[in-house]
Amino acid sequence: MRGKVVIAGVGHTEFGKLEGRTPVSMNVEACRKALKEAGVAKDEVDAVLVKYPTSKFQSKFGQTVAEALGIMPRIGGVWDQAGASGISMISFAAMAIEHGQCEVALVCMSDNPRTGTRSAYAKPRGGADGSGTHGWVSTTAGYAMIAQRHMGEHGTTEEQLAAVAINNRSNGAKNPNAQLKIPITLEDYMQSRFIVEPLRRDDCCLISDGGAAVVVMSAERAKKAGVDKPIPILGFGQGQTSWEVAQRPDLTRTMAHKSGATAFKMAGIAPKDIDVAQFYDCFTITPIMSLEDYGFCEHGQGGAFVGDGGIGWDGGLPFNTAGGLLSETGMPGMQLVIEGVRQMRGDANLQVAGAQKGIVSNQGGEMHTHSTLILGQ
């Protein structure tokens, strides 16, 4: 089904501190804009797939969003893979469309951890097993634990972690939609305070309010409807480790190797064919390890890859061209899909000239879940 389903339109709210906006309201705004961009009437939508807001669980949230949209879909509900949900829902929509289960899907996410609650992020990692008694709390600490192991096992350095932050912040500084438009130098990074050592403030994603949505339909339908610049989905895949960080057999492997292998096989291309990449950068260690597991470099060499110019505009792989979670918005992943689509359409803010193939990497939890999307012409 390579290329048979497209992303027909994208939409999002402002990103940052959006006082008084609820996740439902921001989902509706994002969907309204995505439908408008695609030129699709809401009556045509027969699937509404929603990531539930991480900060605060609400039962039947998918139906709540569909109600606010005034849509009675054939398929609807929430997907719970944390930050991998966006691409996983797009993949599900593509498969459902291919098999006649629905025709036009809205895939969306929104949360308000900036002005609402974010207590879910401070809960003990192991639940009731007593690890909270040892102070083992916070998502940041999970990634710090992984980063420490990677640094110890593979010699990854603070300067290499910084290279990710410097690249992404530099791109975000030029993005008018970005929440944080302040570029940083290595010196700034080294002066940034530790949150959970070895991770510093500048290693950590933003905390953001916002919403984003995409419209998914068949390439055939998009052509008939005269959609302007529909972007074909060439490949997708998923992979998961189910173990909590403390139980994981190998801390330095992400499931990008599984999700990436599936997606590249489906697309019939390899990492060397990719012109532009949008990687989940909740913490700087995440894209470093994901680059390894996708095969952009050898296992253990992700730090050297980003530190030695493997990413960036100067001969490297153009990377997180809108700023990612470190600079554009801390939203868990859909903004990366939107930027990936814009790069393929040729209308991105920082456009990679002539880009033909793009990869988007989503992941969630503390590297529990992974999903991959390959877009292209």
């Binding site: 401070a122 007593g130 008694t133 040892h134 709390v137």
Partner: protein
């Protein structure tokens, strides 16, 4: 402050773990069907899925596979302890758990896979497993 301290939630399944610590023993579960060893407490073996296990005393020896140092108190109960460490311990018998390294404040002495040994300490009236560098 102790009212807000995140003490373990003890139930029928994990009670032997906490009772063992009261008696000076760190225990893990061993599957009587396939021989797999694990923590934290579960009702079925995560390897063969059978519900036929016993609690076995660990040697208390293991390694720290990684560690972090908190400079932020994500829950107020830990504010007075900053900076504090959390390490992942892999016991010689296989099971893994999150814990703290005690008796060593100099982080430059921490290394991945450094050998560690069990130290049972009192935390808000509960006996908990911590570890020292061996």
């Amino acid at each position: 402050m102790s009212d807000d301290f995140p003490l373990p939630e003890i139930d029928d399944v994990n009670a032997p773990f906490w009772d063992g610590l009261k008696g000076g023993k760190l225990q893990y579960q061993k599957c009587n069907s396939c021989g797999y060893h694990w923590l934290p407490a579960r009702q079925e073996c995560p390897d063969c899925l059978e519900a036929n296990y016993e609690w076995i005393e660990a040697s208390g020896k293991g390694i720290m596979t990684s560690w972090v140092v908190y400079h932020t108190a994500f829950i107020p109960a830990f504010k007075d302890r900053l900076p504090y460490n959390v390490a992942i311990i892999k016991l010689d018998e296989g099971p893994q758990l999150a814990s703290n390294i005690v008796g060593e404040d100099d982080q430059s002495n921490f290394k991945i896979d450094h050998p560690v040994e069990l130290v049972i300490e009192n935390e808000h009236g509960v006996k908990v497993p911590r570890f020292k560098l061996a």
